[in-house]
């Protein structure tokens, strides 16, 4: 099921509806062949998360996704003890404890006897695996997607280090959990802040930029096979020009697709100043941006 070559990656990703450039395919191939995590950087909306999903589809694996945010801690990302369950068990076995220490002659013997039972409360039974631990304990291999890792706190990176280099997690109470299967790991970053060197060293790096007009046309065509060639070309040209404007949020690939869908629904056959003006709010998400684009309308359609 694994990829055989760079071309194989490219071909199979296309079958999973993801058009990959040679660069993407090469990095995915070498990373998967050597079990290395991939750190993907790039502007918002160029398909960083999609890539992970497409790889999962190709390999017929499940995706386990961890969305990072400020304040994410190990109890939400790695594992957590089920305190309520632990407490319930202590209440329930309270009576049984008497039978355990019944035949103990001295106090110290009784303590020894209880001590030998103690592990029962910090064992696998009470552990609740969170995404990172789930990924390595899963019996069938998965794709682990750690999304927007740059949004997390610097401390959180420390939890990731052990997982990324050895695919294991150390739980202080019960020891190191070894991987059952090795997951394919993707980390995505919007470059809100720089990642630490230790994290970068453990990953290999991939930068995805806005696609070339030809590739973007291919992508839209893949999603909307009925679109006319002339209209598609006009749309992509206009999108490329809008990206060149001084605006707050540049339109990404999904916005090109949405725009094409909207224009199809309106039965548009040709892009004119009027149609652009009417549908501009599909592409641009800020009022200010729309204003800027409207001023430059002639340049966009021209």
């Amino acid at each position: 099921m694994d990829f055989q070559s760079v071309d194989d990656v490219q071909k199979r990703l296309e079958q999973a509806d993801y058009i990959a450039s040679k660069e993407i395919a090469t990095v995915v191939y070498i990373a998967l062949a050597t079990d290395k995590p991939i750190l993907i950087e790039g502007p918002a909306g160029v398909g960083k998360t999609e890539l992970a999903k497409a790889v999962a589809t190709c390999l017929e694996r499940r995706v386990i996704r961890l969305q990072c945010y400020e304040g994410l801690d190990e109890s939400k990302a790695l594992y957590e003890w089920e305190y309520a369950k632990q407490l319930l068990y202590t209440q329930m076995v309270k009576e049984r404890i008497n039978t355990v220490i019944d035949d103990a002659a001295t106090l110290s013997e009784a303590v020894d006897k209880i001590a030998s039972q103690e592990d029962a409360f910090f064992s696998d039974r009470f552990i609740q695996p969170r995404p990172l631990l789930q990924a390595i304990l899963s019996p069938d291999p998965v794709v682990l997607l750690i999304d927007e890792v740059d949004k997390s706190d610097p401390e959180f990176e420390a939890f990731l280090l052990e997982l990324l280099s050895d695919f294991q997690v150390t739980i202080p109470e019960i020891g190191t959990r070894k991987p059952v299967t090795i997951p394919v790991v993707f980390l995505t970053s919007n470059n809100y802040r720089d990642m630490s060197d230790a994290l970068k060293r453990r990953c290999i790096h991939l930068y995805i930029d806005y696609p070339t007009p030809e590739r973007e046309m291919e992508i839209v065509r893949l999603k909307l096979p009925t679109i006319e060639e002339g209209l598609l070309r006009q749309i992509i040209q206009a999108i490329t020009r809008i990206r060149g404007l001084d605006i707050k949020k540049k339109p990404c690939i999904s916005e090109s697709i949405d725009w094409a869908k909207a224009l199809l629904a309106l039965n548009t056959t040709e892009l004119t100043s009027e149609t652009v003006e009417e549908t501009l709010n599909v592409v641009l998400k800020y009022h200010q941006d729309t204003k800027v684009a409207k001023q430059a309308l002639a340049g966009i359609v021209g």
Binding site: P43, Y192, H205, D246
Partner: protein, 453 residues
Amino acid sequence: MLKILTGFAACCRAFDLRVSTSEVLDAARHLELVDPLDPREFKLAVRANFAKSRRDQSRFDFLFDLFFHGIRTDKDEALTPEIGKITQALRQSLSDDPMEQALVDFLDNEPLAFIDQIHALHTKEERPQKIFKSNMGQLSSKLGVMLQINAIKSKIMALLDQEAHGDLGDALKDHFTERMNRAFALATEEPREHNDALKEKSQAATGENLLKDKPFANLTALEVIEMRAVIEGLVRKLKDQVGRRFAVKNRGVIDIKKTLRNSGKFQGVPLNIAFKNKPPRKSSIVALCDVSGSVWSGARFMLTLLYSLQECFARVKSFVFVADMAEVTELFQDLDINDAIDQALGDDTINRNAPTDYGSSFQQFKHDHMNDLNQKTTLIILGDGRSNYLNPQATILGEMRERCRRIIWLNPEKINTWTTGDSEIASYKTHCHEVRTCMNLNHLTEFIEELVL
């Protein structure tokens, strides 16, 4: 192959790309998987391992181009022994100067020493200059290298003319000229980092009718007083916001998990009730404010902003600079707002008649206050980046970036003037996370809202 790779890794390290041994190992393993003779796949495999962020990629591309295309051109087989002979002859006539040695090594396909020295030159720290300031330090040392390159070039040409090389003469001349031109380019050009994630906010001045739209520089004396009232209102709002965050700290729902865990100590009786706290974010701010003549009108408002920041956040350090840097955190803590600003702008704190020098100010900050920056610090720089054509020393800002969370630069000028005259914003912005115009009250309000809310 491995030798080439380690050689390249050494060059990368000399040029400030952090390439560890494990990354070289990974790259070697990855090269076995791709077709190493395909130049594109080769480069991709090496780059994925050596340049781990978009910022590093331009530096990597520059070095890769130099190392694999510039100096490893597979020239005529017949040329190689001749080239060896000439470099041998050159070596005998050399002085002890390390740069000359490095240059001949460079001719001999050993670029490491040369790259190392050139990089040191690019990132050299200017010595603090007190009385006469000039930016000649870096230029003159570069000039020295250029002269040395030319001297060696003429030596080679003389050597080539002395001996007859038959048909190879022209080819040899071409080879050495090309190589020396590369060395020359390396000494004079400097790669800049990609900074795609940079948020640039250029706000248009929307007219001057309303007080909040008027640039700070155009305010009349009366309006300045009016403005203070408005800013006070802004600060009150800011305080409310922060205050609310502290207020909710000890309210809210019971944290069942923590309560149960606490109750473990008391045989399961929940004696100690824990709440789901929302402790305020513990970010800290370091602010540097240019108070020189060119930003005189804006400086007062910037200082007001600093003052209010310090009231709202627990950990704020404020500095003012012209050619030197001085800390004003304590002034702002102890004094009333107007007195504090007058003091900060007074002559006791800082010499405001000196020409602005961002480079030396940054340098001073690096030496005295670098430990104030950590992974949770937001560094805010307020200033126009006009540094009187003195050495900007942007690499220091790069070092600061590595130590802090974000760098935000507030510029009181419109974006279309950033590239004019002695403004160094272009070289500084490669190291910033965000550069934005802040020339009137509107911009200031917007910035504060984004920062806090």
